[in-house]
């Protein structure tokens, strides 16, 4: 009578490839799952995974094969076996107990021989009553609400199984056994197998009880003399007659002698006569017959049914492959895709098209007289200011520009190339505006080389919209894209020196000067005046003023700093649209900002302004809390200053100062996030409050205004080169006018060097 959940013999060869998997294999897989949940994926799992993967079939099959192939499988099998044995032992003990209990119940019910007559229905009731009620309960639960039946295994079976597990737990304390027990419990808790196992144990135990009772009953009735009677106070004799005849019908059918109506009436007690004792034989038959038919028989049948069902449930049992552990295994065991590899001939033999695009760029046409410079836009995105870009009038008079329009498609290209070929003059320079948001491809390369071929002089490729690209991704992407464009243009035969990165959304006199130089007009237009010296002077003057009025320790108030920033910004009044863009993102945004400034609801814009400046900082400065704070301050106060220049207001009376600190801290912490991914350390932003911090912020603003119009990458590079390394002691903090003067001188010197380096090809 093996009532353990698994068949121990079939465990022996679980997992041999040819065999169909059965319940024990699945139980082993569940045990492996439990073990791995505690100990992690088993050692040498790769090999087993290989076996599982090559096993084929569905996921469950692969999981089972893998489990069987694991090195821990042996241990786990043993553990399962031992747990099963312990359970069987407990159940056997239960069987013995039940036998004894049955016998004891029978002997107690019959009482001492030769004494009072035995009350038949009392005996029947005490031997069959409880178990019949429990049987009805079992039927109700199993067949009416099977879902709840796992819960109702508080039956003998449930208790026995639970005791079995405890015994196993006490006997074996290893991890494998723990896993085995857990797996067994979890399998039983789920679905019919547990239900039928518990039922089988229950019925088995009751069967043993009945056997014990019957055995003793028969023995006692054989060797002893009992007289039987029945009694009643409120019922009639007739009802007892029909009850007895009714109950006795089944035994009678089986050929057992049961009392007839006369005998029944005659044995009504108490006060029984001797004459009636010959009815005792019939009564014994009735008693034993009832025990067999209503106690032993049903239990035997149900035990058989339960065992059968349990076996069927074992066959139907499937792993729940949607469990996370199995789903994770699925990724390894059951590839959802199969590579088809490279289709068609492999690469290598095909020549790069752009290479021969370069070759097509043949020059050497007959010289034509120079015409005005021409400009065209190649596959540009939506331009904020429309086409053509507005260059400052200092660069060249608008009338002299020849606008070739936008080259968006085939027709445009044909039109432009034809125009260039057929025009009697050759433009003295051709500017091809390209957007960095566009990916340079061979199509663009082909057109550029056609353009180059149609002119005597290499066109100027102007890369714009760097800011838009940076907004989409990170700085690295921008650097990469610029490099890709340079490669593409150079392959198309463009002179590398004539490829410039210049954001048309932020044109300044610096950038127009660069353009002018390229156009060969550098000598005609004035080089833009430098204002950095003036800005630095302003900083020192303000610092002197602050330190005379404030007590040392506390830095200048935000209002005072904002005044300084306004004066610095005013120096660059000439490039109004550029600095507005720089600080506010766009000219409209600046206008809107100026409107809202008076109501004070500008925290977000201030933060955005701060973040914009912070994002321009090179990684070295981003990893410094001070410079983060300085950048955020410069951006936020720069916004205020710019707005104040647009619509003059008294800065001190603006209702914005309360939210300023939060905006600056917010902006700085955005930069902190960037910096963290850069080098892992995590600077904490400190608000710019000391004199030195105020100087740093104003210096940054001045440097930014001075370098605006250059590409973002260039600005970052220049800032990196211009700001001196921080000395460890901080002794040279620019917080007095002397130290600030010295520090600013060094900054300016470095700045000049950086500019020179940028200018070099």
């Amino acid at each position: 009578m093996d009532k353990s959940v698994h068949d121990s013999d079939s465990l022996a060869d679980a997992g041999s490839p040819g065999k169909r998997i059965d319940f024990s294999d699945r139980l082993l897989a569940e045990t492996v799952r439990s073990a791995e949940a505690v100990a992690g994926i088993s050692p040498a799992a790769d090999e087993a995974a290989g076996i599982g993967q090559s096993a084929g079939g569905d996921l469950e099959n692969r999981i089972v094969r893998r489990a069987a192939a694991l090195s821990i499988a042996g241990n786990l099998k043993d553990a399962l076996h031992q747990v099963g044995t312990a359970t069987v032992l407990v159940i056997l003990a239960g069987v013995v107990l039940s036998l004894v209990a049955g016998a004891a119940a029978a002997s107690a019910a019959l009482g001492a021989a030769g004494g009072e007559p035995v009350n038949v229905f009392w005996v029947l009731g005490s031997l069959l009553g409880v178990q019949t009620l429990l049987l009805l309960a079992w039927i109700a639960v199993m067949f009416i609400r099977p879902a709840a039946s796992t819960l109702s295994v508080a039956s003998l079976g449930g208790i026995a199984m639970s005791l079995g597990r405890r015994a196993a737990g006490w006997l074996h304390r290893g991890r494998s056994h723990a896993a085995a027990i857990e797996a067994t419990v979890s399998v039983q808790a789920r679905g019919p197998i547990g239900r039928w196992t518990f039922s089988a144990v229950s019925h088995g135990l009751w069967l043993a009880f009945n056997i014990g009772a019957l055995a003793l009953l028969v023995t006692l009735l054989t060797v002893r003399q009992y007289t039987f009677s029945w009694e009643t106070t409120i019922l009639t004799s007739d009802s007892y007659v029909s009850l007895t005849r009714g109950l006795g019908w089944m035994p009678r059918v089986m050929g057992v002698n049961t009392p007839d109506e006369e005998q029944i009436r005659a044995t009504r007690g108490p006060g029984l006569t001797e004459a009636m004792s010959d009815a005792s034989e019939a009564w014994s038959g009735f008693l034993v017959g009832c025990m067999v038919m209503y106690g032993f028989g049903p239990r035997l049948l149900l035990l058989g049914l339960s065992l059968g069902e349990r076996r069927a449930a074992g066959r139907r049992f499937r792993l729940d492959t949607t469990r996370p552990e199995y789903l994770r295994l699925a990724a390894i065991l059951m590839p959802a895709t199969e590579s088809l590899g490279v289709v068609g001939e492999p690469a290598g033999d095909v020549g790069s098209a752009s290479a021969d695009g370069g070759k097509r760029a043949t020059r050497g046409r007959e010289a034509r007289p120079n015409g005005p410079p021409a400009i065209l836009g190649l596959e540009l995105p939506q331009m904020p200011d429309g086409w053509p870009p507005r260059f400052p009038s200092t660069l060249t008079e608008a009338a002299r520009w020849q606008d070739l329009g936008l080259a968006d498609g085939r027709d445009d290209r044909v039109r432009i190339l034809r125009h260039l070929a057929e025009s009697p003059t050759e433009p003295e320079a051709l500017i091809v505006v390209c957007a960095l948001t566009t990916t340079p491809d061979r199509g663009v390369g082909a057109f550029l080389s056609d353009l180059a071929a149609s002119l005597g002089r290499s066109p100027i490729v102007l890369l714009t919209a760097g800011e838009s690209l940076r907004r989409r991704g990170d700085g690295d992407e921008l650097t990469q894209r610029v490099a890709d464009w340079r490669i593409a243009a150079a392959e198309a035969g463009i002179d590398p020196e004539r490829i410039i990165e210049l954001d048309l959304d932020h044109v300044t006199d610096v950038s127009s000067a660069r353009l002018a130089t390229l156009l060969g007009e550098g000598d005609e237009s004035l080089p833009p005046a430098r204002r950095i010296e003036a800005a630095f002077d302003l900083i020192v003057r303000h610092l002197e003023r602050w330190s005379s009025s404030e007590s040392t320790g506390a830095g200048p108030s935000a209002v005072k700093q904002a005044e300084l920033h306004r004066e610095v910004t005013a120096l660059y009044r000439g490039e109004e649209s550029a600095w507005r863009n720089l600080l506010h993102g766009s000219a409209e945004a600046a206008g809107e900002f100026a409107q809202r400034l008076k109501s004070g609801e500008v925290g977000e814009q201030l933060k955005a302004g701060g973040a914009r400046v912070v994002s321009l900082l090179p990684p070295r400065l981003k990893s410094s809390a001070r410079w983060l704070a300085a950048g955020a301050t410069a951006g936020a106060l720069g916004c205020v200053a710019a707005a104040a220049l647009l619509s003059p207001v008294a800065i001190g009376s603006l209702p914005i100062w309360a939210g300023l600190g939060a905006a600056i801290a917010g902006a700085a912490s955005i930069g902190r996030g960037d910096a963290k991914s850069a080098d892992g350390s995590e600077p904490t932003p400190a608000p710019a409050c000391g004199f030195a911090d105020a100087v740093r912020a104003a210096t940054l603003l001045a440097l930014l205004l001075e370098t605006q119009g250059r590409g973002e990458a260039a600005i970052s590079r220049i800032l990196d080169a211009s700001i001196p390394e921080e000395s460890a002691e901080g002794a040279e903090d620019p917080d007095t006018s002397q130290s600030a003067r010295a520090w600013l001188d060094e900054v300016r010197h470095r700045f000049d060097l950086a500019l020179a380096r940028e200018a070099a090809p």
Partner: protein, 467 residues
């Protein structure tokens, strides 16, 4: 036979996310090479999706159509003035010399389109509709295969989705799908299959099988994620360690040991979740998840982590002891003195728990129990929930650090959850972190009061919160 193999070619301009689209559709993060540079993919390479054990759908990645303008010129040259079908001179082009030299890349892609049943045309909707796109569509149109335009990058700020739709309908392409491979949305994927289905009558069964598979997998994924989270929470909630009341040294050591175990348990959950979602640890950073090397950037027991949650850990937090462990004091009046003393010594908080037989026994022996406090459990739950949500969306493209959403705080005090968790607190055997393996104290309880039952119940409660 009712399910013929479906062949799909993914084509498009260079750098429009063709390889990314293929990666998403095949769930294969290793496929091909993805980069923001042009012309990264140079070869046609394919993968077949295995559905119900059969390789039913073949997907092919192709090199970008870089010079469509030049190619269309060339095709028109080939046609000359003879009247011929588009497909005819595409064939002539593929045999020509140009198809091996100047337009080798385009030829590879077109050859694959001809060999497939349908082409997915990837579009970067941040671009304007330009001549090159028109010419690409024109060339594809001449291939006489159904084309489903896939609008990619739709989650971008610069997306011009409606302009693209308008243009596509003008060239008679009405079955347009939207997709963002970085901000993944399962609905978008389902809709893409629907679009393919409308164009491919003969492959309906196949596409249906694929749709069903993906739907089922997603449900399974959500279920499994909820389970992993539930297991973590049960393990942490039921985790108990006893310390002697008098021995401060031991108590402090035990707190450290507990913290380490809980921390490790959380990392394990992260690792398992990443594995479940087939996410490589290095993808996390790219997707802006605050997870590095499979670890949360912010330590579970750091005050910042609590702050991130907007949690205050009770009054004792004033002592700066925002440590996520509670000294479990059973009889407030009786043991508060000792408890506070230990609490001060180890920087833990004082909480109160329910009485339980074993604890009384412990108490009689001069022991007290340490366990994770509610704030720690909430933190664990919220962090992992956020992670799962991000993973289900295959990571957000936003680089913002993860923040608590408004609804989350309300969910912190979720009743039904705390019922299960409180139950777990009195069942130390449920925790895999407790002293021995679970079953060395086999539970005398009935199956539904086992760890398994509790995990299931909790997972059911957590599941709706993951969507």
């Amino acid at each position: 036979m009712s399910r013929p193999v479906l062949r799909v070619a993914v084509v498009g301009h260079t750098n429009t996310g063709k390889t990314s689209l293929l990666r998403t559709l095949t769930r294969d993060e290793e496929f091909g090479e993805v980069s923001p540079r042009p012309a990264v993919t140079r070869e046609v390479s394919g993968t077949s999706l295995i559905i119900d054990g059969e390789p039913l759908v073949e997907l092919y990645d192709t090199p970008g159509l870089e010079d469509s303008i030049g190619l269309l010129d060339h095709l028109d040259d080939l046609r000359g003035d003879r009247r011929a079908d588009g497909i005819e001179y595409i064939g002539r082009f593929l045999e020509s010399e140009e198809a091996r030299s100047r337009f080798a890349q385009e030829a590879k892609a077109l050859r694959q389109v001809l060999a497939c049943d349908v082409a997915l045309y990837a579009i970067d909707v941040r671009d304007r509709v330009l001549g090159k796109h028109r010419d690409e569509l024109e060339i594809l149109g001449r291939c006489a295969k159904p084309v489903v335009p896939v609008l990619n990058f739709i989650a971008s700020e610069d997306a011009q989705t409606s302009l693209w739709r308008e243009h596509l309908s003008r060239v008679n392409m009405h079955a347009v799908a939207e997709f963002d491979t970085v901000v993944y949305n399962d609905q978008d994927e389902q809709r893409l299959y629907e679009k393919m289905r409308t164009l491919l009558d003969s492959h309906r069964e196949t596409i249906d099988a694929l749709t069903r598979l993906r739907r089922r997998q997603r449900e399974e994924l959500i279920d499994a994620s909820a389970r992993l989270l539930a297991e973590l929470l049960i393990d942490a909630a039921a985790f108990v360690m006893s310390v002697p009341l008098a021995d401060r040294q031991r108590a402090a050591e035990t707190v450290e040991a507990m913290k380490r175990k809980v921390r490790d348990r959380e990392q394990r959950c992260v690792r398992e979740l990443l594995e479940l979602h087939r996410f490589r640890p290095e993808d996390c950073e790219a997707q802006g998840l605050p997870v590095t090397d499979g670890r949360w950037g912010l330590d579970l027991f750091s005050p910042e982590a609590m702050k991130q949650l907007g949690l205050k850990s009770g009054g004792a937090a004033a002592a700066g002891a925002a440590v996520g462990l509670t000294l479990d004091v059973m009889l407030a009046g009786l043991s508060l003195g000792t408890g506070t003393a230990i609490g001060a010594a180890i920087g833990a908080l004082i909480g109160s728990g329910r009485m339980h037989g074993r604890r009384l026994l412990d108490r009689a022996m001069g022991m007290t129990e340490l366990r994770c406090d509610d704030a720690t459990l909430s933190l664990l739950r919220v962090r992992q929930t956020a992670l799962i949500r991000a993973l289900l969306r295959r990571g957000h493209a936003t680089q913002d650090p993860m923040r608590l959403e408004a609804g989350e705080k309300a969910a912190l005090s979720d009743r039904s959850l705390s019922v299960v968790l409180r139950e777990a607190r009195v069942h130390p055997a449920w925790s895999r972190l407790s002293a021995g393996p679970v079953a060395t104290h086999p539970s005398p309880h009935l199956p539904e009061t086992t760890r398994e039952g509790a995990v299931n119940r909790l997972a059911r409660l957590l599941r709706p919160k993951l969507r």
